[in-house]
Amino acid sequence: MTTLEFMQGNAACCEGALAAGCTFFGGYPITPSTEIAEQMALKMPKRGGVFIQMEDEIASIGAVIGASWTGARAMTATSGPGFSLMMENLGYAVMTETPCVVVNIQRGGPSTGQPTMSAQGDMLQCRFGSHGDISTIALVPSTVQEMFDLTVKAFNLADRFRVPAFLMSDETIGHMREKISIPDSVEIIPRKEPKPGMLIYEAEEDMVPGFPTFGKGYRAHITGLTHNERGYPEATNPELHEALVRRLVDKVESRRHEIADYDAVNTDAETVFITYGPSTRTVRQVLHDHPDETIGHLNLRIVWPFPEDTLKLFPNAKTFIVPELNLGQMAREIERHVTGQRVISMGRLGGTIHTPAELYDKVQEVA
């Protein structure tokens, strides 16, 4: 059974989190994500969960990490300036393998920038923003329905891989209202527990160790220092550090094609749009207006880890056009993976999204 609703994107994100069993939200007001905290403040007490307004975003992600270690599905939501403040903690979450969900309703940056306008300027920050080598998972919704669905998915991926999962949405989708179908229940992939006899940071075949929840009888010893499989620091051991960081990266990167979530349309086309988030909607309009199947479209719902094999779904492609609300952050990644095809970046700043006409003009221009 499902319930049909007409809902704001930020509210759908909140509903998705609650459906996924999120019982802890720590957050701080920031435009354009504040509605998520407000909805959580209203709904969490009724569900028996915890809503805490923290004193800033550093504290918000800190509280989320703490709650996660008690076994809670924990989340925070923010926008650019708050996301920047969270970076050290996010590296800590990667190093300690703490599952958590961080929603970033992106706005125009750098700095305070454009608080009420849309942008996708944090796409590389969520991948490379914290110091050291890390790998994380980033999901990008392009509809209110996907705000719900991908929030659920973010919790499952965070728990499965023991990483922070980012819902990298933006002001457009966050504040948009449209129809959404809410299911009575959703698939929940629980956190794996450590197998008897295994050390707390002893990885299994999938490179992910079981999660030793506080208070469940495990010898939990958690640190952001380079640690051995017992969880104790060995910060001057070169081999240990290299093996640990490689595992933290590889446990995600080696599964990138399995994690991938995308739509590939008109795969015979020579000119192909690659989009994520709001520009997906514009390209769909272009394809609707020009239904001759000559324009290809790859829509990515998960951009990190980047699923480069999806480019091979378009064997005749000569040109990839990448419209995004930044100066070409994902186009740069796509350029790393193409095999001779031209990559045209259609970066856009200012807060408004591409129009179908300008995208179609670009198709004509490159043809």
């Binding site: 007001p29 920031i30 435009t31 209203l42 307004q53 004193e55 800033d56 700095s111």
Partner: protein, 297 residues
């Protein structure tokens, strides 16, 4: 003495009608004078007073981030001092920026003893993002992140005593003021900027939009808060209480009833236990600062 006839915070800005913080800004600059550099954190005042071509500020003004006004001010002050310059450095920040996210930088600046005046315009919540609670939100106020309802009577904690915290840092001068008492406010600002070392002033600045009252009643609301003892105007010099405004106190009910943020305490039925808790806060303030006027028998 500064020339208090100078209008250094101009009219024509975009604040709501009856904005307490806008009035505070006007009075702050009258007290500080034109030889002042303003550091403003993110917040309502930053947004409503600055959009091109209508900036209200006739003195040098810098918007920092949400959390770092006191650190930016520290740098300005230390560099000015190094060059034997004497401009006054004044932070003008909201209560969210002061009580919550900016606390770390304020603590550092006051511990180092920079010669700055940090002024918080306290409208008792994050108003710029749409009325979320802050560490300055009073007990039981309904905000969008402390919504009153069946499971909640609003904000669960009383205001953080920030003046006392900063006095404990060794602040030279700490004062509270209210936009309802403009002469007192200007005098305190003038005193602070002329007192060496770190000074703090917290200004009660009623917000008609966030508290839920008619914009014409801002001054009335400020006065009511003082008359019931929920706000006290006082001065601390080197941590010692030197002055507090005395009042013939009235019960807190009328002040609470006048604002939508406390409406749930009276409708559908009065929550007498909760109102009594708020009265106890006012009573404790009166006791602590000795504000009750003793009537002659």
């Amino acid at each position: 003495m500064v020339d208090k006839s100078l209008e250094l915070f101009d009219c024509g800005h975009r604040a709501c009608g009856g904005c307490g913080p806008a009035l505070a800004a006007k009075l702050i600059l009258k007290g500080a004078g034109e030889d002042t550099i303003i550091v403003a954190s993110t917040g309502c005042m930053e947004v409503f007073s600055t959009p091109y071509p209508e900036t209200a500020w006739k003195v040098p003004w810098i918007h920092s981030l949400f959390e770092n006004a006191a650190a930016v001010a520290s740098g300005i002050e230390a560099s000015l001092k190094h060059n034997n310059r004497t401009e006054k450095v004044v932070c003008v920040c909201g209560d969210g920026a002061t009580f919550d996210i900016g606390m770390l930088c304020i603590s550092g600046a006051f511990e180092r003893g920079h010669d700055i005046t940090y002024i918080c315009y306290d409208n008792e919540a994050y108003m710029n993002t749409g009325i979320q609670r802050s560490g300055a939100t009073p007990y039981d106020a309904s905000t969008t992140t402390t919504p009153a309802g069946k499971l909640s009577t609003g904000n669960t904690r009383p205001k953080k005593d920030l003046p006392q915290i900063l006095a404990s840092h060794g602040a030279s001068y700490v004062a509270t003021a209210s936009v309802a008492y403009p002469m007192d406010l200007m005098k305190k600002v003038e005193k602070a900027v002329n007192t060496p070392g770190s000074c703090y002033i917290q200004i009660h600045a009623p917000c008609s939009t966030g508290w839920g009252f008619e914009g014409g009643k801002t001054i009335e609301m400020g006065k009511m808060a003082i008359e019931c003892g929920l706000w006290v105007n006082y001065e601390l010099e080197n941590g010692r209480l030197v002055k507090a405004k005395k009042v013939q106190r009235v019960p807190v009910e009328d002040y609470l009833k006048a604002q939508k943020r406390f409406r749930h305490l009276f409708k559908p039925a009065p929550l007498t236990d909760e109102i009594a808790k708020i009265q106890a806060i006012a009573d404790a303030n009166a006791e602590k600062y000795g504000i009750d006027i003793k009537l002659k028998e």
